[in-house]
Symmetry: C2
Subunit: 324 residues, 2 copies
């Protein structure tokens, strides 16, 4: 079995040797730019780790690993346009650096390129692999729509929110793992357990992202804290706070989440003050822990020796910024 | 072998029974709306006709037929947004009726749905089928980018233009035919001939579209004539006219194609006046005829009896508005 480091190196090499430049340059330069922004390459790492975990040959799944990352970056590119985000990983987003039409069309092309990568290496399980990828892609689009709906929807429940992040975030992590396992011809029951582990860890991952936006160390997290509050995003923290709040706190939260002050510092301070008084940080940390433990329980159920699961467990820990 | 009418009825039934509504409604209503706008369903018709021509069972290719039409409508939806077109088939375009974000995301979803349809019926030739579809999709994106480049590119040659319309229009018609033939396990050599026939007829189809925009009968063509001239589109007519024009005519054309007058009637009249004096209509009609004949020559080369090719020939004739 490969170590975490070996899997990550394999992923790095895949992207180091890949060249996305083609004609017309106006279309492919933004694609090259987007994929050179880097990021953790989490989805290809999970895909290859899942393949290796079941004794599969990661070389045979490497095109799919590139494909899933290209797809993920396509969704980021279009999301940035829809959300009018100026920056991605500290650099200008495509629609700002070029223009909206270039962002639309280079995104569309990336989606098609993702399939080209999947199709580059055929496999007896291709029907299941491509169905998993396609249903995941549709689910991610559904999730993005729910997320956009929530901006103007008054009564978002925690259940609504969990469904949204499952679609928008968790199913792509789980899908990557399932696809990796399919390349290794893993048994159906184990694939289902792995997929469920992926959903749970994906939910934990998103809740942690919500938490870090309010409570993260800027120097570690790499982005400004409080942006979700500034942007009135109905995150897990906000929805949990609404549930725990008394009448006056609830009114303050709801009122503040309708404002967009030029200078948001005071708004952020007030909201985090309410979160603190309601112990939201501890509450969310507990929920993250629950999903994390759930994920490990699913992994434990898989019919493999503990040694085979070591790398996957390590990656899941790293995903939450934990050392094992 | 099925008649043109039978193929067209089969296509009609496919779309009559298909329901695109799902949750979230905000995402799927624009999809349902787009696919209910109708149109000639040319690509699924060509796909099923090609399948039937080689003795294939069109029922087994029916999901792919839906898929290729969903893909085509996705490209129209995103093109309308990029071109800021207000109307499509006489109705408001999606980005105008809803908004830009809805247009982006429902388009993305349609692209994924196209793959879902392709994957609904598995086939031994699925690798070739999906590669053909995916490479076609990438080519269509490339073509749209060239088309956008031409808006600001000063020196567009006729060769550049032909390459652009081959990618943007012809390869999807040819791809649909190739995919249909793959469902029927047609011999490789015949598939290549059919694909070439599709490219030629696709080029003829686009040149005819250019011609009708300037010379079409509004009551038959269904849209206002002269819009390409109004929008300064470098069509085959314009590029051919530039090639044939004397110095003064060339200057007039190039000057007028930089203007966007409030009232474009005089501009359209002047441009068509130049086209007329250069005999552009006859020149383009001759070129359409050449591509059309080329298409028939490729069809003739296919190793099948004439009876088997009758329906395909009829569809190709109808495509250019001709009776056989």
């Amino acid at each position: 079995m490969l170590s975490t480091k070996e899997i990550q190196n394999a992923v790095k090499q895949l992207f180091d040797r890949e060249n996305f430049i083609s004609d017309p340059a106006e279309l492919y330069e933004p694609i090259q730019y987007t994929l050179a922004l880097g990021g953790k390459r989490l989805r290809p790492t999970l895909l290859l780790a899942a393949c290796d975990m079941f004794g599969g040959d990661i070389a045979k799944a490497s095109s799919a690993a590139v494909g899933i990352e290209v797809f993920h970056n396509f969704t980021l590119l279009h999301d940035d346009l829809m959300d009018k985000s100026p920056l991605r990983r500290g650099k200008e987003t495509v629609y700002r650096r070029w223009n909206e039409n270039i962002a639309i069309l280079s995104g569309d092309t990336m989606f098609a390129l993702a399939y080209r990568y999947f199709l580059r290496q055929w496999h007896p399980n291709m029907e299941a692999i491509l169905k998993t990828f396609t249903e995941t892609a549709i689910g991610v689009c559904d999730g993005q729509q729910y997320d956009m709906n929530f901006e103007t929807q008054a009564d978002v429940s925690i259940a609504d929110y969990m469904k949204m992040i499952e679609l928008k975030t968790a199913i792509l992590l789980a899908g990557a793992m399932k696809i990796g396992a399919l390349y290794a011809n893993a048994p159906e029951k184990d694939i289902e357990l792995l997929y469920n582990a992926g959903i749970s860890i994906g939910l934990a991952f998103q809740l942690q992202d919500d938490l870090l936006d309010a409570y993260g160390d800027v120097s570690v997290f790499g982005k400004q804290t409080g942006t979700d509050i500034k942007d009135n995003k109905k995150t897990y923290l906000y929805l949990s706070a609404l549930k725990e709040a008394d009448k006056s706190q609830k009114e303050t939260l709801q009122r503040l989440f309708k404002t967009t002050p030029e200078n948001p510092e005071e708004k952020i301070r007030t909201v985090i003050g309410i979160y603190d008084s309601l112990n939201i940080k501890a509450l969310v940390e507990k929920d993250i822990e629950t999903y994390f433990e759930q994920s490990l329980t699913y992994l434990d159920g898989i019919n493999l020796g503990n040694d085979s699961k070591e790398t996957m467990k390590q990656i899941i820990n790293q995903l939450l910024g934990r050392k094992i």
